[in-house]
């Protein structure tokens, strides 16, 4: 692998990411899957780095899951999108940042559709007027929250308490970066580094001291695939895709996986349990699986957040071996305590996947 070759591609796909003043929209599923990630994003951008990231309670889903499962038509999705953009405009923002890759794909796809079919844009503007009585507007910039953290990666590095380095060996941690399909596969120019060698997460990992693992199936879908998972009869396909990725990355012995998509983080984490319990096959050291983290969780760890405040106890694959490598202290007894300190109880433990 010739690193300079990758750098050349990265330089071909630069994306303008504004430094400040964002209208922020959340992901539907991330708040339940990885509940502290979005909170960590706001703590880091607003609290630590002093950026203006505005959120308001009137924004909704982007409609992406319904769209990708064929339950609502494209026009409906575009009207939902127009409403989100109108809310941004109403509050005086022109930079739009979303927390979900599916949403990011929907926003970019919608804007591209409007660009190519102005008559459709006019129709959606009319729909918006009729249904919500809101003024149609388009953002100047649409970025994903991982773009924003990428933009701020050096500032985060300058405030870092920990590096992505194995404290026992002094070696950089080996990190698999997994990009959600809808980040740049549809529109490579809209993603940092393009679609073939996306740099958005690689840039963070490099800035924070880790080393990227390029394994053969790095472009492969995590397996979620909406319908593949949502319909049980198809779920084997979902599992098989995840299995394919893990088989491909296994020889590289990655220390953890970082991903920027809600679905990917969830499925690459949970399917390791299903593969272990149904096939007896485990990945990672000592059968303990390969931890899968969101980029905010990684940023939070680097900045010295308490792992349990970052929600790492909600992961299927236990993160303790990773924390030990990073030299990050944690209190095992407090892992399953609620916000008020009450004992929530330890979930049932798997058989094959070691904890």
């Amino acid at each position: 692998m010739i690193y300079e070759g990758k750098q050349k591609i990265w330089s071909d796909y630069q994306k303008e990411i504004p430094d400040d003043h964002y209208y922020y929209v959340r992901s539907c599923i991330r708040q339940t899957f990885f509940p502290a990630s979005e909170g960590a994003l706001l703590k880091i951008t607003r609290g630590i780095l002093g950026r203006d990231v505005f959120e308001n309670e009137h924004h909704t889903t982007c409609g992406g899951i319904a769209y990708h499962t064929d339950t609502i038509p494209h026009e409906t999705v575009m009207t939902i999108v127009a409403r989100q953009f109108a809310l941004m405009h109403k509050h005086g923002y022109e930079n739009y940042v979303c927390s979900c890759i599916t949403s990011f794909g929907i926003y970019i796809e919608t804007l591209e559709t409007w660009r190519n079919f102005p008559e459709l844009e006019a129709k959606i503007a009319e729909n918006l007027k009729k249904t919500c009585n809101l003024e149609f507007a388009k953002p100047k910039f649409v970025v994903h929250t991982s773009d924003l953290i990428y933009k701020l990666r050096e500032e985060i590095a300058s405030k870092a308490k920990y590096k992505l380095v194995n404290v026992k060996t002094g070696q950089p941690l080996k990190v698999v970066e997994h990009i959600g399909c809808h980040y740049s596969k549809m529109f490579p120019s809209k993603g940092v580094g393009g679609a073939e060698y996306p740099y958005v997460l690689a840039g963070m990992v490099e800035a924070w001291g880790g080393e990227i693992v390029d394994y053969p199936e790095r472009r492969h879908c995590c397996g979620f695939g909406f319908r593949q998972y949502l319909i049980k009869a198809n779920r084997g396909y979902s599992l098989s895709n995840t299995h394919k990725k893990f088989e491909s990355m296994e020889p590289y012995e990655p220390d953890f996986i970082i991903t920027n998509c809600p679905g990917c983080a969830y499925f690459m984490d949970r399917w390791q349990y299903v593969i272990a319990e149904s096939q007896g096959k485990t990945y990672g050291e000592n059968g303990r699986g390969i931890p899968v983290l969101t980029y905010e969780e990684v940023a939070g760890l680097v900045l010295g957040f308490n792992p349990w405040d970052l929600g790492l106890q909600t992961h299927q694959v236990y993160v303790e071996p990773l924390l030990d490598k990073l030299g990050i202290p944690y209190e095992p007894a407090k892992k399953f305590l609620g916000a008020k300190g009450q004992d929530l109880g330890c979930p049932a433990l798997p058989t094959c996947l070691k904890v």
Binding site: I2, A195, Y197, Y252
Partner: protein, 336 residues
Amino acid sequence: MAKNIIIIGGGPAGMEASARLDALGYTVFLVEKEKALGGHLARWDRLFPEGKPAGPVLDSLVGNLGNTKVLLESDVLSLNRLGDSFRISLSSGVSVIADAVLLTTGFDLFEASKKEEYGYGIYDHVVTNADVEEFFRTGGDPRIDNPQRIGLVHCVGSRDEKAGCRNCSKVCCATAVKQACELKAKFPAATVYCFYMDLRMFGRGYEDLYLKAQKEYGIRFIRGRVSEVSERIDKTLQIKAEDTLSSTPLRVTLDLLVLMAGMRPSREGTKVAKMIHLATGDDGFLSSLDGFGGMQATSIPGLFVAGAATGPKTLPDTIAEARAAASLIHEYLQKS
């Protein structure tokens, strides 16, 4: 007084036309931007279909130049018409007034790194057709390290609208089959695969080459375009394609992948055409007057074209066009 002719591009077309026009008694200025004549031919080892060495062909083209004034390392700064004649200024400081101009600006090889999914310039063992010729010519390339499993991908930067190249590059099929045989001969224990979409073995002796590749060299031809290449931990390459003949996805591990980079309009030709207001086609190649009787003429009196400047050509095609152009220029100058 002998009339002046400027020929821009010192590849096979430019050299052949120079030789012919010089023999007819004209004063020929052959302009070449590189340090030496020969164009792509100078970088090639052997030629299809028989595998004839390129060196003697080049030597013979150079040897026939006669009194041609060869202007090397000369970029064209300007080219414009002055009444019935043309004026050219070169980066070397030389300016020439000529009665006719022939553009033999040839082609550029497609930049294989643009097909990001093939990993040229990123993976350790991905090379191009030109690299293979260089390997055979000079004998060394660390990327070609006793490979036992070799794949050749046809149509890299050809028949690919996404890469901005709709055209077939005409010579890559025959080149791929030639190189497949050469690599098999060099590494006798290797398994060699050609990934093709259509095999365009149109010329004399080409089909024989194909049959020989199958029968004597045991080359496996797979009808399907390579869609994805990845590097494994041991630096071998994981290839994905569809075997379209069985409608089934296929994968294979290789030690060497050769990309058959296609022919693109040359940057130099495009630049010069703009200076003299010569139109280019939708494909970017220079426009000749028409594709039949007017192949070497252009819309501009006194301006002529030959070789791959007007689209992908084989070497014999190129030489034939250069001769045709020389004959046409002679006719034009006799009348004027």
